[in-house]
Amino acid sequence: MLSIDDLQVAFKTRRGEVDAVKGISFQLARGERLGIVGESGSGKSVTSYALMRILDAGGRIKAGGAVYSGIDLRKASESTMRDIRGREISMIFQNPRAALNPIRKVGHQIEDVLRQHARATRQDARQKAIAALEAVKIRDAAARYEAYPFELSGGMCQRVVIAIALACDPKLLIADEPTTGLDITTQKAVMDLVDGLVRDRGLSSILITHDLGLASQYCDRIVVMKDGLIVEAGEPLRLFTAPQHPYTQKLVDATPRRDVTIRALLPAEARTPLAPHVVAPQPLLQVKGLTKTYAGKSGPVHAVKGSDFTIHQGQSVGLVGESGCGKSTTSSMLARLLDASSGQILFRGEDLARIPAAAFARHPLRARIQMVFQDATDSLNPRHSACQSIAEPLKRMTGLRGAALAARVAELARLTGLPEHLLDRFPHQLSGGQKARVGIARAIAPEPDFLILDEPTAALDVSIQAVVLNLLADLRARLGMSYLFVSHDLNVVRLLCDHVIVMKGGEIVEAGPVARVMDAPAHPYTRDLLSAAPQAPVAATPELPEIRLHAV
């Protein structure tokens, strides 16, 4: 049905031509579900754009081509392509909210496509659009027709995007990271929906993702890409059990899954023994009745509703829960960046909640509590080089200057595995993993006792995530810090943490040792979270109890 032959795509850029796709070939049969996996920048998206001929200005198909049902997609006229897009081949994209025109009613956006492809007339467009919305199982479709994207949740937006893509009954659906940016539970619901539709209608599909686990769960065959080339292709189970290419091996290893140790995420040659960390019996931090209420536009928002927990010296505590449950709010309060509405934060017996956040910057305990942020890019000052960023807390809190400061920065860079020559670079000149290292180096610079990690790996590729997680584990062992590790990914938490707290809607619903919570979840919500995480097809994995998720 679709055959790609030595496709090469290049972009004109400031510094000459960049080859984004360097000659890839694969075939897609009718009804087949293909997965394309690879790390960021490997050319997955560009491949799909090239198929649709919607490359950005400056991009062109340099060589090779693609044939879809006998039509040469490279040579076809623009009007032919317009007919193909949406009617024969459809795409859905990541970040559904941004993928919809913000100022047009979603119903009209669906109509636009229907009318474009003459699948509807002015009279029946509305009715067909509603039918398309019903097909993606949106509740109350007729009412949603009138909605604007901002009035819908992320999951609903993605359903609308899917409705647009499938409105004209295409034969091939390309989904480019359709669930990035969605909540883990929503992700599952959306993927199940797409998969259901694809199967029901007998479509071919291409799922582009960097999550090997996700791909293997929803695809018949997986293509692994690296640097614009296909390095390996095959059935999911085969890839997982017997990867041929070292890169595939690395990806497989790095994918967090049950029953592996944190070191096992790394490539075999990097698996040095992990020094054990010691958990002291005395509590480092005691949180009592911690509450935060925001004055929202439409009434108060109870972001955190009276949390109680304790963190011991040397202990790593995981904090999990879906988006908006109050994880970041909790960590900000603990980091003393945000004033609590009520409650106590006892740090070695001293109540930090009584010190206003604005004054805490100059408090001696400031150096004892540090934090690593979710978005490494956002957390680095774009005007400061890596070195300046790392040096900042040292200058402010330790008073180091001159050569001593430089030496300490270099030491921290070594500790976090940041090559020294990168220290001069600005954040935009660093990769995601490197930025994460700068963020970690900066946080551990004043040698804190307590480190809060707010989803430090959420924006990273799995292989980099693996490295960062191991780095954190090493640092903990070396420096004896305590962690509060915030994440929505239970698999990751299990690797790094001793203890886990599950939050929902601002409340702690379950807490306990990792092994207990993961293996015998007491609260149904914890079970939801567990089942939503994509599972790699590891041969020896015992079946998890199947839990149906509610439709969004």
Binding site: A57, F93, A99, I103, D112, Y148
Partner: protein, 341 residues
């Protein structure tokens, strides 16, 4: 919908302190003007006594706070006072002259939009190309010219040398009679009256001053259109639309341009109020009987009531303009006034 009206009425409330501030500042500013209006208006051969008489007649012998209270009291009754130099109530003067300025400004803006927006779109669809650079240089050249200089050069070339343009004598050549006043906009009034000749006559008079002003406003509009179009075109929803096979026109105008319109409308508002101020110079060059020339005259003569009235009228216009922009926003952008924004 409720959110929108809430936002609009919120704007009206916000305007109140602004108007109060404008009243106070304009009062103080006029009093700070050099020159004694009493001397000015007492006439050529005034003696001490007659100056004093005039001062009392104008109420300028009273202490400042009292003058202010009197002024505010009058304002509250809707009385803008009387211009000493024209001898008319300021409100009447403004009502007479405002349409002239508005007609000129709006024509200039329409002209400017008609050129700048397509230019901006063109530049945005080919960023970095020579067309883009040329647009940038052209519109920048336009905004770099002092308006009075442009005006004079245009008059010199098109009226004096070539004789194409009509004499730069205000809104209508004297062979025509003013159309019966309905809106005060000659083009509209003449059209309503069905008087084709007068309409053409009024249009001819408008062209040169409108071009002068339009040249000056091309740059902000074109630049903003370009920037907004660029960011709209790079947005994800454009990719979605293209991937769904929508036609080029639909994508460019139906999707990208409508989104780009939001910042363009904001810019238009700013340009409008800016141009109303810049009118001062153009009106002088083209003998245009607008409020700009009125303001200059009043300022030079220290005609307190006229200056204050003018400033207040402009402030009201500004507030009104912001409301119009908000309304335009709420029409274009459904998010307006909702919590999501």
């Amino acid at each position: 919908m409720q959110g929108r009206w809430g936002a609009v009425s919120g704007r009206i409330l916000q305007a109140i302190p602004v108007l109060v501030g404008v009243v106070v500042i304009s009062f103080l500013l006029t009093r700070a003007l050099p020159g004694d209006p009493a001397v000015q208006f007492a006439g050529a051969m005034a003696t001490e006594d007659s100056i004093q008489q005039v001062r009392e007649a104008l109420g300028l012998d009273k202490p400042l706070p009292q003058q202010f209270l009197i002024y505010v009291g009058q304002l509250l009754q809707g009385d803008l006072g009387r211009s000493v130099s024209t001898g008319q109530p300021v409100a009447a003067d403004l009502a007479q002259r405002l349409p002239a300025s508005l007609e000129l400004t709006l024509t200039a803006l329409i002209l400017s939009c008609a050129v700048a927006i397509p230019l901006g779109i063109l530049a945005a669809t080919r960023p970095g190309s020579w067309i883009d650079q040329l647009c940038r240089v052209l519109v920048t050249a336009g905004v770099s010219l002092p308006t009075f200089f442009t005006g004079i050069v245009l008059i010199y070339v098109f009226y004096y040398l070539l004789g194409i343009a009509p004499s730069p004598l205000g809104r209508l050549d004297f062979i025509y009679l003013d159309p019966p006043r309905v809106t005060g906009f000659f083009l509209i009034d003449a059209a309503l009256d069905g008087d084709g000749a007068t309409w053409v006559g009024a249009l001819k008079q408008l062209i040169l001053p409108a071009i002068t002003l339009a040249l000056f406003t091309l740059a902000p509009i074109a630049r903003m259109t370009r920037a907004a179009m660029l960011s709209a075109l790079s947005a994800d929803y454009i990719r979605t639309a293209r991937a769904a096979g929508l036609g080029r026109g639909k994508v460019l105008y139906g999707y990208a341009f409508r989104n780009a319109l939001l910042p363009v409308v904001t810019t238009l508002g700013m340009v409008f109020s800016f141009v109303l101020g810049a009118n001062v110079l153009v009106e002088k060059v083209f003998a245009w009987p607008g409020i700009g020339s009125y303001a200059v005259e009043a300022l030079v003569l220290s005609d307190y009531a006229a200056v204050q009235g003018f400033v207040l009228a402009m402030a009201l216009l500004f507030v009104l303009l912001n409301l119009v922009i908000d309304l335009a926003y709420s029409v274009i952008d459904p998010r307006f006034g909702s919590a999501a924004q």
